[in-house]
């Protein structure tokens, strides 16, 4: 078997795989700091990286509180979005009629800008948890549906025929052949959804609410404390990355055979 090249995991990172991006990031931060220090961009418009860090430290308690609400909304919405998205994908795969009926609708639903419907959701569902969760569901279910449906339909038809010659039922074919084959694509979709989840929750909070990073963000924007604005942006990135890391971890546990694939190179 040919060397498979890069694998998701199981491949040891070389030193320069870590050093090169780290050095690039450090360079950007230093340049940014210098730009502010030398007044190339006025400080009241652009805080320096050190100011952002100290803003994070100063407001740590408050940020943690707001983060907690955002994470709860994001996780709740993501879980429901994954369940709904998966059910839709399975139904589309199982019944051709459902696929024909839903495929265009699913696509169109994704072209609706979330920022435009967020105020409507606030209008309909108030300032509490519900509108945020609904917005997260809307923005996360689509990647799941599309990736899982694609994964389920990508299964080798010979494999299904083989299962039939072994007397497998439709149910057995689904669970033993189709589902495992679709997992890879499902997780790619889930990784995208995870990033949408945090951002979706923040957008919903912008437009009204009592807690959350979006609420904090609108408050600090109104008081022109841009160092805190940047602090929230950093925090949102970190939370999204953490959520993606969680997805990777779940995939790592759910697909032990992937690790073996990363190491295989037979000839």
């Amino acid at each position: 078997m040919a060397r498979t090249g890069k694998a998701e995991w199981g491949v040891r990172l070389r030193r320069r795989d870590v050093l090169v991006p780290l050095a690039t990031a450090a360079l950007v931060l230093v340049a940014w700091q210098l730009v502010v220090v030398f007044g190339i961009v006025p400080n009241f418009l652009l805080p320096s990286p050190t100011q952002v860090v100290s803003a994070i430290v100063e407001d740590a308690g408050l940020l943690a509180q707001h983060s907690a609400s955002t994470v709860v909304e994001a996780l709740l919405g993501l879980v429901i979005g994954v369940v709904v998205g998966s059910l839709v994908a399975v139904a589309m795969d199982r019944f051709e009629g459902v696929a024909l009926a839903l495929r265009p609708l699913v696509t169109v639903s994704q072209t609706i800008p979330t920022i435009a419907i967020a105020p409507l959701l606030v209008l309909w569902f108030g300032y509490g948890l519900l509108p945020k969760v609904v917005l997260v569901i809307i923005s996360t279910f689509f990647p799941i549906t599309v990736s899982l449906y694609a994964g389920l339909s990508s299964v080798d038809s010979d494999l299904i025929d083989l299962m039939r010659t072994m007397g497998a039922s439709r149910w057995q074919i689904f669970w033993q052949a189709k589902m495992p084959a679709a997992l890879d694509q499902f997780f790619s979709g889930l990784r995208i959804s995870a990033t949408y989840a945090i951002v979706g929750a923040v957008i919903a909070e912008w437009l009204g609410g009592f807690a959350g990073l979006g609420v904090y963000m609108t408050r600090v924007r109104k008081s022109f404390s841009y160092d805190r604005m940047f602090a929230v942006i950093v925090l949102i990135s970190v939370l999204s990355l953490a959520l993606m890391g969680l997805v990777d971890l779940i995939q790592h546990i759910a697909m032990p055979w992937k690790r073996a694939e990363g190491n295989s190179n037979h000839d």
Binding site: M1, D156, D158, T165, M166, G167, Q176, A177, P180, W257
Partner: protein, 270 residues
């Protein structure tokens, strides 16, 4: 199982007919016109029969119908005299690709036919474990399929096919994806295993050398004369091989060349 030495005997020999097709008319797709017509085809107890033909002439379509995966437009498939037309799961079928499930370890892959049939996992594993050695897979039970070489994967696919529990086996170019040396090894290994386990085999291939070196009889499937004419079995070649001869040795005999010439001319080559 009876008729182990049926190889090389003509009609009316030691082995009775185990698999038979009568008056089959097949189409590529539902509603399409007939593309393959097979008036009579039979596999006798313990023998290995090959079906050769050019690519795209309908070999796999025919094999699918014999496996019950598709329903013929007309005609019958009989397994030991029992009508199994359009019934899947009556004979063992092995595809060109090994189709091992990447998410199951080798032992669970090979005992899939047992677990699908409701055999408890522990018992299924035990039965598979006992056969791993015979199939050249000793020590591989805990590996993932991706950790096996192409030849080993194919052996695992053979074992899985065997555990389907039918002694009539349909093979769709099982060696074509392997390198030449592995292929030669596996051909001999299969002949030995089939004889020992009492299997009756119908194998399709487009490799004439492979067909002649393994089979006791060869059916030649030829495309129809004119456009729209279905493919038919145009010739049946008896290969004069001694019972038990292995594929590599037989490939060096004059009988091999005689049969090969006959098959090639039936295919319109040379």
């Amino acid at each position: 199982m009876a008729g182990v030495d049926a190889a090389g005997v003509g009609a009316g020999g030691a082995g009775g007919v185990v698999l038979e097709a009568r008056g089959l008319a097949l189409s590529w797709d539902e509603g399409a016109s007939t593309c393959v017509r097979v008036d009579a085809l039979e596999v006798r107890e313990g023998e290995l029969v090959c079906l050769v033909g050019r690519s795209g002439c309908g070999k796999t379509t025919l094999l699918h119908a014999l496996a019950g995966l598709t329903r013929p437009l007309s005609g019958q498939v009989l397994l030991r005299g029992r009508d199994v037309t359009g019934l899947a799961g009556q004979v063992s079928y092995m595809f060109q690709k090994d189709l091992l499930l990447p998410n199951k370890r080798v032992v669970d892959n090979v005992c899939l036919p047992l677990t699908l049939a409701g055999v408890p996992k522990a018992e299924a594993r035990e039965r598979a474990q006992a056969l791993l050695g015979r199939f050249g897979l000793a020590g591989c039970e805990g590996k993932w399929p991706s950790e096996l070489s192409g030849g080993m994967r194919q052996r695992a696919a053979f074992l899985r096919t065997y555990l389907m529990g039918n002694d009539v086996v349909l093979l769709d170019e099982p060696f074509s994806a392997l390198d030449a040396l592995t292929r030669a090894d596996l051909r001999d290994w299969y002949l030995g295993a089939a004889r020992e386990l009492g299997l009756s085999t119908l194998m399709i291939t487009h490799d004439v050398d492979e067909a002649v070196s393994m089979a006791s009889r060869i059916y030649v499937l030829s495309a129809g004369e004119g456009p729209g004419e279905p493919a038919r079995i145009s010739d049946e070649v008896e290969v004069g091989r001694a019972a038990g001869a292995d594929a590599g040795d037989f490939g060096l005999t004059p009988e091999f060349l005689t049969a090969k010439r006959e098959v090639l001319s039936a295919l319109g080559v040379g």
